[in-house]
């Protein structure tokens, strides 16, 4: 049991890294990878939401959509659940921990349209994971997302200091760096 969960986490975080291998969550990946600090904040917020979204969508699919034979409503229901969840998490953190809210607050509304969150919920169903496996797949995916974000942010912080041709400045260079990182990550292929 523990072994299989470790395999799921490592696979989602590194071997099948969400950003580099499955190409999900690219908008925030390119949008807020300017600074290491904000990347860590976004990563923490995404981890929180992904773990919860995995559990809730799994229960929704198992106890509501399948018994009622409404599987075709999956997309609509999942995105509504994720949007509501993000809203609830935001309200909860605001009340319970103002300091955490100051750190994560700005990132929370952005998570609804982070396709990695809906992506992980859909992949859990397609891989026929049980509840624990779904949650850990969500956590692993979020760790992988954070790792990708922090790696790119670290490199971009340095690139900002150096002189770059105006043609490549900013996004073109970030994309090429991301490509090289993806190439490095493809070295993990077949490890698990």
């Amino acid at each position: 049991m523990i072994r299989s969960i470790l395999v799921i986490v490592a696979s989602a975080a590194i071997v099948n890294n969400f950003v580099f291998k499955q190409v999900l969550g690219i908008c925030p990946f390119l949008g807020i990878s300017n600074k290491v600090e904000t990347s860590l904040g976004m990563g923490a917020a995404v981890t929180f939401v992904m773990a919860m979204a995995s559990a809730v969508t799994w229960a929704l699919q198992r106890y509501l959509l399948i018994p009622l034979k409404l599987e075709y409503l999956q997309t609509i229901m999942f995105i509504l659940v994720i949007a509501t969840l993000v809203q609830l998490v935001e309200m909860f953190i605001k009340k319970s921990s103002p300091s955490l809210y100051r750190a994560l607050g700005v990132f929370l509304p952005l998570i609804t349209t982070n396709c990695a969150v809906l992506g992980v919920a859909l992949l859990n169903i397609r891989s026929e994971y049980n509840l624990a496996e779904s949650v850990f797949n969500g956590v692993g995916a979020a760790i992988g997302f954070t790792l990708a974000l922090v790696l790119l942010a670290g490199i971009r912080e340095r690139l900002d200091e150096s002189e770059v041709s105006p043609v490549f400045q900013g996004l073109p260079l970030a994309l090429i760096v991301a490509g090289i990182l993806a190439l490095a990550f493809s070295g993990f292929q077949g490890v698990i």
Partner: protein
């Protein structure tokens, strides 16, 4: 009053969703390993854009401001479900290749952005023109990226062999190829616009 053709040109060139506004990057990089996939994804997105801009524009006076974003998401998700089911029954092969990226059209920021910025404030004609322009721009961008990657990665174009006995440039089939091709294309367009500006000044 902007004309229909201006909207189309705007979507393809001035405000191209991929190369200028950088919206909807996940499908752009995820499915463009072959030109056909690019076209399929582009057309599916265009359909959803047309549907969502149509409904949002018609309901723009009915939807209260506070709940507009959730309402837009429900409208978009409805059209995405339609595309998903239609593709599953009429184009099962393409459906299989695009896989998870079809339901993920829901979270394509391009569609929500157009609903919020344009369709919710403009008349039906304008909203449809914009959806068509943006959709064509998105489809062309995906097809271009897909063609380059397919040509370099497989030596074919739309599955027709261009170079026989081609030794494939295999990283083009992986996500690496997508990132690097898009980065170089963006740099190329920027180089072109800088050069054009210099020409005007001289």
């Amino acid at each position: 009053m902007r004309s229909f053709w201006q909207d189309i040109r705007n979507g393809i060139f001035t405000e191209n969703p991929v190369f200028v506004m950088l919206l909807g990057m996940c499908p752009v990089l995820g499915v463009t390993t072959q030109a056909v996939n690019g076209i399929g994804m582009g057309l599916a997105t265009t359909f959803v854009l047309l549907g969502s801009n149509l409904v949002v524009s018609l309901l723009r006076k009915v939807i209260p401001g506070e709940v507009r974003i959730p309402s837009f998401i429900v409208v978009i998700a409805t059209f995405v479900t339609m595309v998903d089911l239609l593709m599953l029954s009429y184009l099962p092969d393409l459906h299989k290749v695009l896989g998870i990226f079809i339901p993920l059209i829901v979270v394509n920021c391009l569609i929500l952005q157009r609903a919020e910025a344009l369709a919710s404030k403009n008349s039906l004609g304008r909203a449809l023109g914009d959806a068509l322009g943006m959709g064509i721009g998105f489809t062309l961008a995906l097809t271009l990226l897909g063609s380059i990657r397919e040509f370099l990665g497989f030596g074919t174009l739309f599955s027709i062999t261009i170079i026989p006995n081609y030794i494939p440039f295999s990283i083009m089939r992986e996500s690496t190829g997508g990132f690097i091709t898009l980065g170089l294309l963006l740099a190329f367009f920027r180089w072109y616009s800088i050069r054009k500006q210099r020409g005007k000044q001289a």
